[in-house]
Amino acid sequence: MGEIKALQLFHGPNHPGMHGNFSVHIKVDGDIVVEAEANPGMLHRGFEKLMERRNWMQNIALILRVCVVEPDINEAAYSMAVETIEGMDVPERAQWIRVMILEMARIANHLMSLGGIGGPTGLYTGPNWALVDRDLILDIFEKITGARVYHMYIVPGGVRQDVTDEILKDLEKVLDDIEKRLPEYRELILEHPIIQKRTKNIAVLTRDQALSWGVTGIALRATGVDYDVRKYDPYLVYDKVEFDVPTVDFSDAYNRLWLKYQEIYQSIRIIRQVIEKMPSGKVREKLPGNALKWRVKKGDAYVKLESARGEFGYYMVSDGGTKPYRVFVRGASYPQGLLGIEKGLPGTRLEDVAIWLDTMGVCAPEIDR
């Protein structure tokens, strides 16, 4: 006999338990996963190559398509990388607005993944509610930037246009609204006995595993490490606002959800401070000459931000030309999406595979690019 007879299953790319065009090949014995292998590549659009063939400014329209649910982080990282290489200063107000935009995106993303646990566990009221509330934020985005999902708002040198006080007032109202509704999510999802049963002690990540795989973000913070780029390497004006980094000591699916829930509160807190403290002034540094013929100085830089899933960075190289010489996107879910699946999924129950992928924040487009 010798050989283990296991059942081959395909979790994705076209599977209700999988977000994005990403596939996990699993081998199952009864209902226990014995072997797992990630199979990315279905969403590969060759961004890194495409960027080398486009102008510095043209790329703005391209990069945000790297990740659907949180596009703003790409714009910010790209712009900041360009600014770092060029040595550009960004107007104070633009920095505050960027923080606001990033935090709004974080709320939208966390809402979606908090409600999204309803997908793998079958509580479909969760995602529906979350989408309704996310829509409120998208409305504000629309007012600020003119677009709902792909904003192309943060550009090298600042942001595209100023935010009016009216919009800020609307934003405050939306924040109040969401804050009022968060306890409902807590009741519906976090205190739901069946959700607790399905997520507690499920998809456990130990600190050693997290370190050796290089996992960052909420999955890491749930193991007790309070590593958050916003605190450890403050960019923009994160050192001027007050917020906490919630951590817990045991990284299971439930605690990761719990952290997302807590982070929504923190983000709301940050946005409120931004609205309060934001100075007036211009929001965009004018670029020298024609933007399409803009040459960035020779050099390279790695810029990282804290995305909703963890450390997100751009490594960019300029050879002094009108186009980037090399762009590398460090997707936040790269470690858990490849090595994590290979090492972490075996031993999990078949029922928990979707929960594992969902709460670890495996985002296919970041892996493929």
């Binding site: 007879k5 059942l7 081959q8 076209n14 596939s23 090949h25 014995d29 009864g30 209902d31």
Partner: protein, 620 residues
């Protein structure tokens, strides 16, 4: 020509030698001859239906073997011979690659005569002699099976020995008291045996339970059924474990009721016949059998445990003691004989083409073996007690009796076994017959015609007895009426009345048929569908060539009920305890063995000695 049991047995023992020689000459010819002989048995028993025939075989010396065929044992004889015939028919091609086919046929004729001898015995000694004949014949038959068959056969022999000694002891008790072994005499004097009746009851019923494979003495079934030659398994499970049920029937129903009837009691009340402890033992057997069957990975072992569960139903029905319960229990003997034969024969057919009974090595065989699949499907529908097949009738009668008495625990367990049987019977259906067909079986074909025919006979009988249950129930109702047990009323071929409600199996079948035909017509009226190859599947959007995903690993068969097993894995296994006990005992024997004997046969002598010692301890 008037047949008697005696003449049939005579002819059987003469023909056994002829068949042995014939089989040496040609396997097929020998098997055909066996089939003809058993066919003759079926015919003979059938025409004995309404008569009472008493016959003798004269032995050298003072004693005669006496036989009787009357309405009290006719149902047993009938179903026994039917199963014998069917499995003999199956063996015409089934024995082809069998090494010792001659001995196999010789022994199965002996088993055949022993079936007649046990069910047709008119006295306990005759019963015992044929009982032992069966034990020895099956011992050799079982040891012809798989690799582990020898130790399994030894274990079988050991259990049979215990049951035999229990019986011998019981027989001497009876003889001391009434001076005869005759069943009639015992039945007539049953009331006067009050001082030894309890002991008698325990001895014989325990012997019956061992043979019948009822908890807690079911442990031999798994190894024996699992390792016996495939063709013989159907006889073993279909008939031989019914010997146990027969003994239980004799001592629980026949003797007391016959005695009361002859005393002129107009209606034998249920209380007088009910044996609650026995009924609960049957119930436990149902649960243990069901739960263990769910965990099996071997096709035949799974069926073996289902036999444990169904032996439980039989004992439960008989021991519960009301008219409809006894009717249910006795008719379940028919039902299970047929379904067990059907299941084991289809397992044998599968083994014939694949050479394995491990369920996780197979799959998709329905494409190659439609007849075998149909046999199995009909058998499991009957096993699960789903209308309109025979299994539903007997189980329904048992439920009715239990509910009418308001016995919740037993009702609950009876339903437990029934619903649980969905789980275990579906596992082979899904893993062996449906799903992906592995490449190594691409070239297999359906089994030869004799096997198909014998499986078809079983299938048709199961359906007929289900749709027209009166064929099965009338003979048993006749027994109950003769014993003055209040029983259910049956009208026409299919309409059954009990205290609680009525049931018309034919109507159920007709309505089911109408629904089925209506849907089928509707199906064909709608647009035609496209047929695709077995590997053209939903694979979650992955493009998978057949090469990268062989059918072997794209078929869910291993650990089919892993999650359910997780729920019950805390449960202690009786077999494990027995094994621990056995290990301790055998260590003890090893020490003795080392001192006194060297090897082999002494073990058996020890069994005898120890058993006799145990018996003596009971006596004094």
């Amino acid at each position: 020509m008037a047949f008697t049991i005696g003449s049939l047995i005579y002819s059987g023992s003469i023909f056994s030698v002829i068949i042995y020689l014939l089989t040496r000459f040609s396997v097929k010819l020998g098997s055909i001859f066996t089939t003809v002989l058993f066919g003759l048995y079926v015919y003979a028993i059938y025409i004995l239906k309404d008569s009472v025939s008493i016959s003798f075989i004269h032995l050298p010396g003072a004693y005669n073997l006496t036989f009787k065929a009357d309405l009290f044992n006719w149902p047993f004889l009938m179903i026994g011979t039917i199963v014998l015939f069917v499995s003999a028919l199956f063996s015409i091609h089934g024995l082809k690659s069998f090494k010792s086919a001659a001995s196999f046929n010789f022994l199965s004729v002996l088993v055949g005569t022993s079936v007649l001898g046990v069910f047709g015995a008119n006295d306990l000694l005759t019963l015992f002699i044929f009982w032992e004949l069966m034990t020895w014949a099956s011992f050799f038959l079982v040891s012809m099976g798989k690799k582990e068959a020898r130790s399994a056969a030894l274990f079988f022999l050991f259990m049979s020995m215990i049951s035999a000694y229990l019986m011998i002891y019981g027989m001497f008790l009876v003889y001391n008291k009434v001076g005869s072994f005759s069943l009639d005499v015992i039945a007539n004097n049953w009331g006067d045996l009050s001082d030894i009746r309890g002991r008698l009851f325990v001895l014989f019923v325990l012997a019956g339970l061992i043979k019948g494979g009822v908890w807690p003495v079911h442990v031999w079934l798994r190894t024996t059924h699992g390792n016996a030659p495939n063709i013989f398994s159907s006889v073993l499970s279909g008939i031989l474990i019914k010997f146990g049920s027969f003994i239980v029937y004799l001592f629980v129903v026949f003797f007391p009721a016959f005695y009361l009837t002859t005393k002129g009691v107009s209606s034998v009340g249920a209380e007088k016949l009910s044996h609650p402890i026995l009924a609960y033992i049957g119930a436990i057997s149902i649960m243990i059998g069901t739960l263990s069957a769910i965990r099996q990975n071997d096709f035949k072992k799974l069926i073996a445990f289902s036999s444990v569960s169904h032996a439980g139903y039989i004992v439960l029905g008989i021991a519960f003691g009301t008219g409809s319960a006894i009717l249910g229990g006795l008719s379940h003997i028919w039902v299970h004989a047929l379904t067990a034969a059907g299941m084991f024969l289809s397992a044998a057919a599968v083994y014939y083409v694949t050479g394995t009974t491990n369920m996780d090595e197979m799959g998709g065989l329905v494409r190659k073996m439609p007849i075998t699949f149909t046999t199995y499907l009909v058998a499991i529908i009957s096993v699960a007690g789903i209308p309109p097949l025979a299994g539903f009738v007997s189980k329904w009668l048992i439920y009715q009796a239990l509910i009418a008495k308001g016995n919740y625990l037993l009702t609950f367990i009876a339903f437990f076994g029934s619903v649980g049987s969905f789980l275990y019977v579906f596992r082979p259906l899904a893993t062996v017959f449906l799903g992906q067909l592995p490449h190594k079986y691409d070239s297999v074909k359906e089994v030869p015609w004799s096997m198909q025919l014998s499986m078809l006979i079983v299938t048709i009988l199961t359906i007929v007895f289900g749709v027209f249950p009166s064929f099965m129930l009338k003979p048993i109702i006749r027994i109950e009426e003769a014993l003055s047990i209040p029983t259910v009323k049956i009208e026409g071929y299919s309409n059954i009345y009990t205290m609680l409600t009525q049931l018309d199996m034919f109507l159920v079948a007709i309505i089911f048929g109408i629904g089925f035909i209506f849907v089928t017509i509707l199906f064909f009226l709608l647009a035609k569908s496209t047929k695709v190859e077995q590997y053209e599947q939903y694979t979650a959007g992955e493009i998978v060539q057949e090469i990268s995903t062989t059918p072997e690993i794209y078929h869910y068969s291993k650990n089919y009920y892993r999650s359910f097993e997780r729920v019950i894995e805390w449960a202690p296994s009786l077999e494990e305890y027995y094994r621990i006990a056995a290990r301790h005992i055998s260590r003890f024997y090893d020490i003795l063995d080392g001192i006194i004997f060297k090897s082999g046969i002494p073990m058996y002598v020890w069994f005898i000695t120890i058993t006799i010692l145990v018996l003596l301890l009971i006596r004094w």
